[in-house]
């Protein structure tokens, strides 16, 4: 241990009692900030730590304290899923191809440590699982037909008061009764059942699977056709609408706000929705809905290698695969690069991906379901 540059080291004052208290403090207050892989490893430190880390109460604390996306699941058409970690020593899972589930699955959406996957055969059931603890739960069959590639968003926000993980799964699916319309069916874990919303979306938009995010009770998706842009469903008000804006890119959440991140030309741009009520403001309202949060030039970065010029049209598979919290993941051809918004550093992930890859952020949480 460092003996310090200070002449009067506090250690000199330490007696056994205070030192013991420190160990207790660390065990109770520092451990919940660690990702699941580190915690599984540290169960091997001593019996006390194993006991502490194994309790449901600890899992509850950890899921409340540890929120960082430090890994990603990716999956290409009908291949098994794979896992990429930003820090392999501290963030990881025992079974990246999710073989602990009863059947091969397609990952549909993720939220704060939980994954929602769908089976491929028969009734194609939905499963909610925690890939770190290998716990899983099969959801009851929905009422409506969600189609072959449903636009799903899992909503799990850990809360201090909810000891048992409460989550919702919302699916936007093409209406069977009306043309050019979308309906919404929502599963609530606290009720254990599905409900179809009375609210419907008319307007010829197509809700893009794997694009949806949840912010403050509102779920946003990218939409194709009918002018592109962003559509949303407000869970509290039970209202769906198009967000009038010319934004397109990867949806995400930063500092509690909706963001759109795109790679265009030779730069990464992040725009944040600072005023979500501009849709309901008067015609003459001059309030700007979107603020530019970040603009990073990519052209002077030799470590990125030769860059394709990002001129994908708004409707193609974008170059930005993930952009939430402090992390942006974007592709250059088949290579994956990261940008950390806190440290302003670029990185490269040592794996290659297919063009049609579905990409999901993952929090290494111990949450129990």
């Amino acid at each position: 241990m460092d003996q310090g540059r200070r002449p009067n080291k506090f250690i000199a004052n330490r007696n056994n009692k205070i030192y013991m208290d420190l160990k207790d403090i660390i065990r109770e207050h520092a451990l919940p900030f660690l990702p699941a892989k580190s915690l599984f490893r540290f169960k091997g430190v001593c019996r006390d730590w194993k006991l502490q880390i194994s309790t449901p109460f600890f899992a509850h604390n950890q899921s409340n304290n540890f929120h960082r996306v430090m890994g990603f699941f990716c999956q290409s058409q009908s291949k098994p899923p794979s896992f990429i970690s930003l820090d392999p020593n501290s963030c990881g899972i025992p079974d990246p191809s999710l073989q602990f589930l009863p059947e091969p699955v397609d990952i549909r959406t993720s939220s704060n440590g939980l994954l929602c996957c769908q089976g491929r055969t028969g009734e194609q059931p939905y499963y909610i699982c925690n890939p770190a603890t290998k716990q899983w739960k099969k959801l009851p069959k929905p009422t409506a037909n969600h189609g072959s590639n449903p636009a799903l968003v899992l909503i799990f926000e850990p809360s201090l008061l909810n000891f048992i993980a409460e989550y919702k799964l919302i699916c936007a699916f093409p209406s069977a009764d009306f043309d050019n319309a979308y309906e919404f069916e929502i599963y609530s874990s606290s009720e254990g059942s599905w409900t179809i919303s009375r609210e419907m979306f008319f307007g010829g938009a197509m809700f893009m699977p794997c694009s949806g995010v949840h912010v403050n009770g509102i779920v946003y998706w990218l939409s194709k056709m009918g002018g592109g842009g962003i559509v949303f469903f407000d869970l509290t008000m039970e209202r769906t609408q198009r967000l009038y804006s010319s934004q397109n890119g990867c949806l995400g959440v930063m500092d509690g706000k909706l963001t759109v991140t795109s790679a265009y030309g030779q730069a990464l741009t992040v725009n944040v929705l600072s005023n979500s009520y501009t849709n309901t403001m008067g015609m003459n309202s001059r309030v700007k809905a979107w603020d530019r949060k970040l603009h990073v030039n990519l052209s002077d970065r030799s470590e990125l290698g030769p860059l394709p010029s990002y001129t994908h049209s708004a409707h193609d598979q974008g170059a930005v695969l993930f952009a939430s919290g402090d992390v942006i993941v974007f592709r250059c051809d088949r290579a994956l690069h990261t940008y950390d918004m806190k440290t302003k550093e670029f990185g490269r992930l040592s794996c290659e991906i297919d063009n049609d890859v579905r990409f999901f952020g993952y929090v290494n949480s111990l949450v129990e379901i």
Binding site: M1, F10, H29, P35, V45, P88
Partner: protein, 184 residues
């Protein structure tokens, strides 16, 4: 920073309190900051109740478990926190302050040795300084998160109380947690 006060000061909007550390150094701190140390807050409130005449005079609060270097850091961190009695800022001011605080926090952590983190956590716990406890525990977690079991035992002085065969069995069963590189 040492400052002994001879004359009682009239209480003002920025009332100060004096804290005395284990190495007999005195720190004059604004009441708003000192009140974030709940142990101090409790002591101060007890003092106020017990002696009406003492109100308005400078109280010296003894902190026998906290060293001056540690207290200096905790006070410095406490000052940067949003003050509960501050006037509400507009959105821009709030964003600027947030950025400043993040920059300060990064600078603070860069210059801290891991051992000092333990002292800070111990003191923050004694002072019942919730924000400090959370911040320094998070920093400690960041420091140990990708370390080995052996490092952690050594760092905290924890004795391994597993039997060798128990430990081996655990490492086999959870081999993935001990691996540095993910196998896909």
């Amino acid at each position: 920073m040492s400052n002994t006060s001879e004359n009682p000061k009239p209480s003002s909007s920025s009332a100060k309190m004096t804290l005395k550390t284990s190495d007999n150094e005195l720190f004059e701190v604004e009441e708003a900051v000192a009140m974030k140390f709940c142990t101090v807050k409790q002591y101060f409130e007890d003092e106020k109740d017990s002696d009406v005449a003492a109100r308005g005079s400078t109280t010296v609060i003894p902190l026998p478990n906290v060293h001056s270097a540690v207290l200096a850091t905790l006070i410095s961190y406490g000052k940067k926190l949003p003050q509960s009695n501050a006037v509400a800022d507009n959105h821009e001011e709030e964003e600027t302050k947030k950025k400043e605080r993040k920059k300060y926090e990064q600078g603070l952590l860069k210059n801290l040795m891991p051992g000092e983190l333990l002292d800070l956590i111990s003191a923050a716990n004694y002072l019942d300084f919730k924000e400090g406890l959370e911040f320094f525990n998070q920093a400690l977690a960041d420091h140990i998160q990708n370390k080995s079991v052996e490092y952690v035992r050594k760092f905290f002085g924890i004795k391994n109380d597993y039997e060798p065969h128990e430990e081996e069995k655990y490492r086999e069963e959870y081999a993935w947690a001990f691996e540095g590189v993910d196998e896909d």
